[in-house]
C-alpha cells in the first residue's frame, strides 16, 4: 500500500518534471528562432540528445552564419546621413547587401566552414570527438561569435551548462581572431583531411578571399601530368617519396637496386631528382649504378646538375660519378648547371 503510494507520487512528480522540461524545450526552440540563433549550433553540437530539435535549429544557425546579417547596423549609420528620403535609404540598404560575403575575412569564412562542419560531424553519433575537445570548441566558438563571457555562472546542478560556461569563461578576454584561429586549428588537427577541400571550396564559392575590385592573384592550374604511359616500380616510388624504410624493405625483398622504370630511370635517378640525399646514400651503398643512363642518356649527376642540387651532386662526385658522361644532346652534367660548382670543374 505504502509502496503503491510512493510509486504513484514518483510517477506524478516525474510526469510533472518531464512535461515542464518538454514545455521549456519547446519555448527554447521558439525563442532561438525568434531572437538568438547563434547559440543553437553549439548547443546542438554538445547536446546530442536534442536530436529532435537539431534539424531546424541547425538550419537556422546556418542561415544566421551567412556573413553580414548582423552587420547591418554600421551600414545604416553610413547611409542614414547620406539620404534624406526613406525610399533612397531602402535602396541603400539593398546595396549594402551586395557586399555580403565579399567583405568578410578569409578567417571568418574558414571559421564559419569549420563550425558548420563540426556541427554536422558531431551530431553524427559515430563521431570520435571527446567531451573535453567539444567543450574547448564550444568556448572558442562563443568567444569568436560573442566575445568574452559576461553571463552569470549557471547553477552547479546544471552540469553540462556549467561545464560549457566554464569552458567559455575560461577563455578570458581572448581576441576574436585568435579564437577563430584556434578553433580552426583544432578542427584541422581532428580532421586533417577536412582543411583544404571544403575550406577552399567554401571560399571559392563565396568569393571570400577575393576583394570586390582590383587585380587577381593567379597561379598555375594544377594539371595531372599527361605522361600516363610512365610505369614506375615500388623502388622508384619509395625513392621519389623519400621513404627510406620502404626502400630498404623492397631491396631486402630482392627488388633489384638498378631496376628501370619505363623511361629507363633507376631509383637513384628518382632520389636525386627529388633531392633525397639520404636515399641517394642508401642506394649507392646498396650497389646502385652511379652512372646509369635514362632514355635521354642522362645520369643521376645530370639530374643533380639540372635540378640545382649541389649537395647531392657533390655526394655523387665523391662516390666517383663520371663528370664527363654525355647525354643524348651531348651535354655533360657541368654543361647543365647555371653556376659553376668547384667539385665538378676540379675533376676536369
Amino acid at each position: 500500500m505504502v509502496g503503491n503510494w510512493q510509486e504513484l507520487i514518483q510517477t506524478v512528480v516525474i510526469g510533472l518534471i518531464f512535461s515542464y522540461l518538454v514545455a521549456k524545450l519547446i519555448s527554447t526552440v521558439v525563442n532561438f528562432r525568434e531572437e538568438n540563433l547563434k547559440v543553437v549550433r553549439e548547443d546542438d553540437v554538445l547536446a546530442e540528445e536534442e536530436s529532435s530539435s537539431a534539424p531546424s535549429a541547425d538550419a537556422d544557425s546556418l542561415k544566421i552564419e551567412t556573413p553580414g546579417v548582423s552587420e547591418g547596423k554600421i551600414l545604416e549609420d553610413v547611409s542614414e546621413d547620406d539620404y534624406e528620403d526613406r525610399g533612397k535609404k531602402e535602396e541603400e540598404e539593398d546595396e549594402e547587401d551586395d557586399w555580403e560575403g565579399v567583405e568578410s575575412t578569409e578567417l571568418d569564412e574558414v571559421f564559419s566552414a569549420a563550425s558548420v562542419f563540426i556541427a554536422a560531424t558531431v551530431s553524427d553519433r559515430s563521431n570520435k570527438v571527446s567531451n573535453d575537445v567539444q567543450l574547448q570548441l564550444y568556448g572558442l566558438y562563443k568567444i569568436a561569435t560573442e566575445g568574452p563571457c559576461t553571463v552569470p555562472q549557471p547553477s552547479a546542478f546544471k552540469m553540462t551548462a556549467r561545464a560549457k560556461w566554464n569552458a567559455w569563461h575560461g577563455m578570458g578576454a581572448m581576441p576574436t581572431e585568435e579564437a577563430m584561429e584556434k578553433y580552426v586549428e583544432i578542427v584541422i588537427r581532428l580532421y586533417p583531411d577536412w582543411g583544404s577541400p571544403s575550406a577552399s571550396k567554401t571560399s571559392e564559392s563565396g568569393n571570400a578571399s577575393k576583394t570586390p575590385m582590383g587585380p587577381v592573384f593567379s597561379s598555375f592550374v594544377h594539371e595531372e601530368a599527361s605522361d600516363d604511359e610512365l610505369k614506375l616500380d615500388v623502388v622508384h616510388v619509395s625513392a621519389r617519396e623519400g621513404k627510406a624504410e620502404d626502400l630498404i624493405k623492397h631491396l631486402e625483398n630482392g627488388v633489384s637496386v638498378n631496376l628501370r622504370d619505363s623511361d629507363e630511370r633507376t631509383a637513384l635517378h628518382w632520389a636525386v631528382d627529388r633531392g633525397h640525399l639520404h636515399l641517394v646514400d642508401i642506394l649507392i651503398s646498396n650497389g646502385a649504378d652511379i652512372n646509369a643512363k635514362d632514355n635521354e642518356g642522362q645520369t643521376p649527376l645530370h639530374y643533380a646538375a639540372l635540378c640545382e642540387r649541389e649537395a647531392v651532386a657533390e655526394f655523387l662526385v665523391e662516390h666517383r660519378a663520371d663528370v664527363n658522361m654525355k647525354d643524348n644532346d651531348g651535354s655533360t652534367p657541368a654543361d647543365l648547371i647555371a653556376s659553376s660548382w668547384n667539385f665538378m670543374t676540379c675533376v676536369h
Partner: protein
Amino acid sequence: MANGSNGDGDSIDSSNLSNLNPNQPSPDIPSASSSASIEEIARQFQESISLPKKHPFWETQPVGQFNEIGDSTLPEGPIEAPKPLSEVRPESYNLPGAYEWTTCDIDDDAAAAEVYNLLSNNYVEDDENMFRFNYSKEFLRWALRPPGYFKQWHIGVRVKGSKKLVAFITAVPAKIKVRKEIVLMAEVNFLCVHKKLRSKRLAPVMIKEVTRRVHLENIWQASYTAGVVLPTPISTCQYWHRSLNPKKLIDVGFSRLGARMTMSRTMKLYKLSEKTITPGFRKMELRDVPEVTRLVCKYLAQFEVAPNFDEYDVEHWILPKADVVDSYVVESPVTHVVTDFCSFYTLPSSILMNSNYSILKAAYSFYNVATKTPLIQLMNDALIIAKKNDYDVFNALDLMYNESFLKELKFGPGDGHLHYYLYNYRLCQPLKPSELGLVLL
C-alpha cells in the same frame, strides 16, 4: 534518466543564456526559417553562396546589367548623361563614427610607407592564402602619379583615435578609346580594407566616395577590374604563367610537380638561352619615346577598348623604371629605326607559408608591339631578360595578341580570371580578350 535530465537542463540553460544576453544582435531572420524544411533551407543557403548572385548595389549603378546582355536595341556609350558639377555632392560621404577620410600624399615617404604597409598586409591574396601582392612603394608612386593625376583621388580611411590607416582606394585619369570614341576615364584600383575591418563594410562607401571625387573633376566614366563577376564584365581574361624558376615555384606551391614528372625534365623544359636572340634588342631610353608612342598608338588602335597614349603617357608608363617597369625596343642595326618593343611590370608577392622563400618575383606582361620581329621571338627575348634578372615567373593575360605566343613559349593556364568593367558606359556585346587592349595594374 540521468542522460535525459542532462539534455533538458542543457536546453533550459541555453534559453536562459539567450534571454540574459540583451546585447546579442537580433537580426531579422527571413520568414523562411520558421517552417521550412532542412532541405529547403540548405538549398537556400546553397543558393546564397553560389553564382550568379544578385547584385542590388550594382543594379542601381550606371553599369551594364546582366539582363541587358545581347540587347542590341540599347545604345552603346554613356548610360547616364553628366550632371552639372553643382549637383555633385560637395562634401564627403559619412564614414562610421570611428573613422575619418584622409588624402594619402604618395610623394611623402611616411605616407607612402603607410600605404605600402596597409597593402602589403591586407591586399589581394590567392584563394588558398599562400601569396599576397606586395606592390612596392616605387610601384605605387608610378601607378598613382600618371600625367594629370589628382592627389585627392588617393583616398585613405583612418581610425580617428589612433590615426592608423585602415583602408585605401585610388583612381587615376586615363584616356581610353572605346570603339571609336576617346573617353576620359578614371581607372579605379587599390581598394583595400584592413583585414580586421572587413566586417565594417567600408568598401561600398569608399567606392561611392571615389566616384564622387571623380565626378567633381567632371569625369563620368571609369574602368576597373575584379576577380569576381559583377554586372557586367566587358571582357573576361585569363592569366597564363611561364615558369622561369620552376624549382622555386614548385617549392612555394605556385606550381606543382606531378608524381609522374621529374624535376629534371621540368627544369630542362623551362630552360632559356642565356642571351637575347633579336639583333638590336636593347633597353628603351628616353630618346625612344616618340617612336614608341607612334608604335603603340598605331598598335592599340586596332582594339575595341585600349588606352590612348600620348608621349607624356608613354614616358610615364613605358619608359623603364628600376624594379617597376621594364621596356625593351628593337632598333634596326641598319636603319636605326625602332621597329618593335615589349614591356613588363614588376609585381612581387609575399609568400605566406614557406620557410625557404618569402618573396615571389613576378613579371607581368604590359604592352608589346611587334611590327618587324615575330611576336613570339620578341616575347621569348622578354622571357630571357626576365630570367636573367631573377624573376621567378612571367605572367600574361590572354588579351591583345598574347594568345598567339602563350602556348608556344610554354606558358601554362592560371586559375585567375580577370573581369574588366566600365562604369557608366555600355557595350552591347562583351569583348573577346583578343579585342581588349587595356592592362590595368
